[in-house]
């Protein structure tokens, strides 16, 4: 099974960024741990601080390169209708993941413009959220 894990802005500094909010685990740590844990999965792991490359990655997934997508759109969650349209174009399931419980923070974090075109949403479980998403995808196949 081929799974794309896409990460939006500021996730490259995870571990260093507001650690009291986001924890001290880096994105690199998560990637490594998951590649070990789900060795049967062929991961494409990607992060960008720009909308364009994330959209490109989704288009690539659209072309048959992926069986499922896990996306943590970071702050793009709240306004990037461009990402939304790219997700809507996909014919494989896309799961929106957030490290923190977005409902327990600033008001603007409660609104996701992308969630309506996803398969589902997982929020608040830290790095484990990525794993739950992958476990669901694995069981679908």
């Amino acid at each position: 099974m081929r799974i794309f894990i896409l990460n939006g802005p500021n996730l490259d500094i995870l571990g260093k960024r507001e650690p009291e909010v986001y924890g001290k685990t880096t994105l690199w740590d998560i990637e490594n741990r998951m590649k070990q844990k789900y060795s049967q999965v062929q991961f494409e792991w990607f992060q960008s601080n720009s909308e364009g490359p994330l959209i490109d990655a989704l288009h690539k997934a659209m072309g048959g390169a992926a069986d499922g997508v896990v996306i943590n759109p970071g702050a793009f969650t709240h306004y990037s209708y461009a990402l939304r349209d790219a997700v809507a174009a996909l014919n494989v399931p896309v799961i929106e993941v957030h490290l923190t419980n977005v409902h327990a923070r600033e008001e603007f974090r409660r609104k996701s413009v992308i969630a309506p075109v996803c398969k589902g949403v997982i929020a608040g479980f830290g790095p484990r959220g990525y794993e739950l998403a992958v476990e669901w995808l694995l069981q679908q196949n």
Copy 2:
């Protein structure tokens, strides 16, 4: 590990209710499957169409009877501040689960008054959502 699985209004007719939206699996099916799958867990499985008994169940969990709670508040999600206050009173993690992706349906389903006081939210994965929640709880201990 002791886990409470609490279910709100109309989940008792799951399987019969708008099956094109909610599927044909009954709550009973889900309960049985999970009890088999997670035999190490001591489940307390509860459903009610009223706020009162759900609040009572949460109070019981508060008294040390549970190590974690999974709650699918059904339509109470959108207005029951009474349930919210009961969840906020707990000192064990509470996970809000929805069978469907609430963000892809009517506008009113996007608002949860309970999520801000939960550990996290899982929505859109059908009966598997309960399992993902339990798996996270299991890994915490």
Copy 3:
């Protein structure tokens, strides 16, 4: 023909409650009058001040026990998405009835969260509203 007549909170005190608004007829009077007038109908007449029992009654109607439902949800009209979901699950016509013209009173009474999943709405005709609803149901069969 079997018809359920369901009544929400405070309708048990009809006749005593703000008679300048709701009139002096009791729910009991209405029930008796209608049982006489529509003797061919097998009525199930129910009132509750709680959401749960009303949802249970709707579930019962769902199981083939009724050919039509008339519901006056009282104040639940304005916020009980739980009742709405129960109505949406039915495969027989449900008619929302209000004794008073809800549009001529407080602003909050103009909003019904249940009406969008009903067959239709009748408001403002006092106890006669129940009869108009039943007459429509009778003519359908």
Copy 4:
């Protein structure tokens, strides 16, 4: 008993207009059927695509020419405060009727600027809605 039946814009093309929404019965069919069914009633049946003639008809009813009015204001329901003021001027009961359940359609159809000054509202029962309104008027006298 003299009853005015007033119909707003686009009701002249009832039967031809979006039949999947409004059905195939014409306004003429409804008029004929009701004149037969309620032969004791002296009907004044009127339709216009303009506010002015509808207001004129209401003024005529105001002058003692009618004992009751049934009005389906069509799309004027949602913005014609001019019609509202004309209805408010009447001293005989006015009943607002809609063929479809306006609450189950576009958001804008849920708002009626006329209903607050009517006796009551009947919506969602197709042509039968007119009859229910007339039956209530008949019983009042």
Copy 5:
């Protein structure tokens, strides 16, 4: 003098529930203290996590069983129009009491759907709020 003291959801766990917000005094402590302090009053002390029983209690007060009512509707304050209607039906004074200053907390706590039909509101004075309400009722007679 006969006074009903009605308490809404989660007040049964007062003292254990978020003590940094609500304090450590239990509802039982408050009841005992007040029965001692106002020994001339015939109290009916009631708590429920459901709307129905609270409405029933208000109906009982309506029937001449009480000379005044003190109600802390808990979270029902913010959405229970059913409770509001029950309060509006009473012909004895009803006082809304909150332990905390609801205006200094989450936005949703500032809105009371019940207050407009009460005699008055007392908020922010902890258990003493009940006493102030009773003192006002006592002085009225």
Copy 6:
């Protein structure tokens, strides 16, 4: 001086319409009184229950036929952007007049879509409002 006095919907029934709100003076009374009082003015007095003729009248005024316009748009005040555009096209002063103080009535009466393109507004002075408007116009020339 030539002045157009334009009157919108339901002003033809002034005197008969809700006299406790609008008084018992008819539009005809006002017209007669003003023609006597301001005999030096060449009045064009017009009333319609439709937007079209009122717009036509404004267009006529635009063509040099009037030195000023007094308009009481009735309920059109609150939504007729068509009238607004017609007023905006004029190069003579237009004064909006209301018999009642629209700010002391229903919320919707407080909004005028026409006032922003008028010279000014006079509201609340009954039939005298027309006279004040004319007096201002007279003094301008």
Copy 7:
């Protein structure tokens, strides 16, 4: 006849203040002209940049010292509920006057918190607005 003419903040600099908006006439000019024109009126002419003295002046009018009040509340129009309450306490007619057409300027100027408790409003006629108000008051007596 005794009339109070009350003026709110920044009207003391009328004539110097944004003359392209408010004109070059000073408040002093208006006062003098009106005292000459309406010599039969006993004017009390007052201006303040503070709410307190304006409220005091209204209280004085309330005590029988005036037969009518003309008030141009300036920017207090838009938020001074304190002035509103003072106006509401009066038992003589109060007329709100604005030099400019407040509906043709910034959005915030369209809202008056005082108008609902006045007799009427005159806006957009420059200094003549005061005169129209006085003329109406004179004709009432």
Copy 8:
């Protein structure tokens, strides 16, 4: 090909009306130019300041008299749900045209209640907008 060109309120004074906004070309000029330019088209050119006649014209187009409709609803764009319903009833393409770029003017001009039931919208190109609409219709056949 038969095309209806329908024009709403105040378009009859095009050329004279606020020429700095709408230009100096009259509707007559546009009609003549287009009849010459598209001589193969059988035009029905219509203007009205009232909703009724415009709805009638749309109904006529509905009866097979037109292969396409171009409508500039003028100010009716912003509130005439009656026109919207008439457009929705048509089974030939309807194109909404505006002379000016409505998005660059007052806020209320940005909202069209008719556009959602049209084929498309063309705004901001002056009289050429009509031609672009016709060119698209011509190419469809």
Copy 9:
């Protein structure tokens, strides 16, 4: 114990002002009664129709001159963020009191910008509200 009793605009005319709303008791009556009733309290009783002096009084209380403050901000309640800031600066408890039940009147009276920084709120109990506030303060010490 030293207590400041601060009163906002229009409370100086209490007793004369809309007596059907506010009663016939004057502020002077309340002051006298309370000084007699709570003779152990050293009261500083103050009223102003301006924000400035009320802020000054609060500053004085801040400097150690008071052990508690009771404030009826009158209409300032609804917009005076300046008073709010002054209250927030205090280190003794401040209680907001309203004579009437502000929730049962105009919508704007339901919003208090000051309550979030007070200890608590008492509304609807007439002059007795001041006494309840003082009784709470007394019991604190």
Copy 10:
């Protein structure tokens, strides 16, 4: 004549993306067809999934390299104030084009933050929309 045709996010997958909504024509097809059809035009055809390059392209057009711009901003339409500012900086006409009728889809698609600074908008005509825009530009020169 030199015309820039700029295309925003996800237009690179046109033809493959939700074909039931956007059709099966690719952007490449449109480009080729237009280059053939308007051979007299010197086109600069550009697409990007990022704001930056689109802004750069607009800046290039600003420097005299284009006589007109046609832009389909895709989802950037709804939030990219950065694109808006770039368009506003241009001194050649910019036309906003949408393939679909944005008014007939999700609510968020109705709002364009760019349209207010464009020459005009064309929406709903599929690939032909680009051609209509070019035809207008051609006729301007």
Copy 11:
């Protein structure tokens, strides 16, 4: 150069007021420090807890007494349209200064009704904000 430094409500207790928010420096300290630092400037330093005197001070500045104004309106920032009008009347630059970053505090502090008529705004730099404003003014001359 003559500069007015105007300070609104509660700035007289700066240093004592919520020092964790506003710091321990008094307004007096700031004034002294600035008079030393900018000895070439002729300062007029003023503070008031009332709108009236602040408006008077602005009027004085308007009369040629100042070459620039620095104003910290305190809580008046959020509602005093009276101050706004006074600022708008000035023909010398006015700079709005806030000690704290108003955007990082309560929602209501983000709105300034005065800023739109100022030259600019400086917020968040403590007492240094006054100095930055003065430095800009100095460099202008």
Copy 12:
């Protein structure tokens, strides 16, 4: 001292872009002038029309490369929550600067999603705004 000066979209065309709004000074002019004026500062001067590179620059500043940041986010100010998160991650002061007084322009420019996580905001002082920000940073060290 090392200071990053970051500039968002369209600031690269400063001087050419709407010079009547933004002036004729280029970003290059500002940079040169400031490098001369503050020769003791080690500047990193950066501009981008994309979010990504601006976020990268902020991340670089986060890694100890800067002692302070001045950012003019251009139009990103109003919606880029991604930039906001990057600013929030920094542990050195960040100052938001705008050339124009954003409060005196379009409504959307008044909202900054970044300001709440900055040290402070300076707006309206043209290129001098950058200097004021730097001066504050210099004085902090």
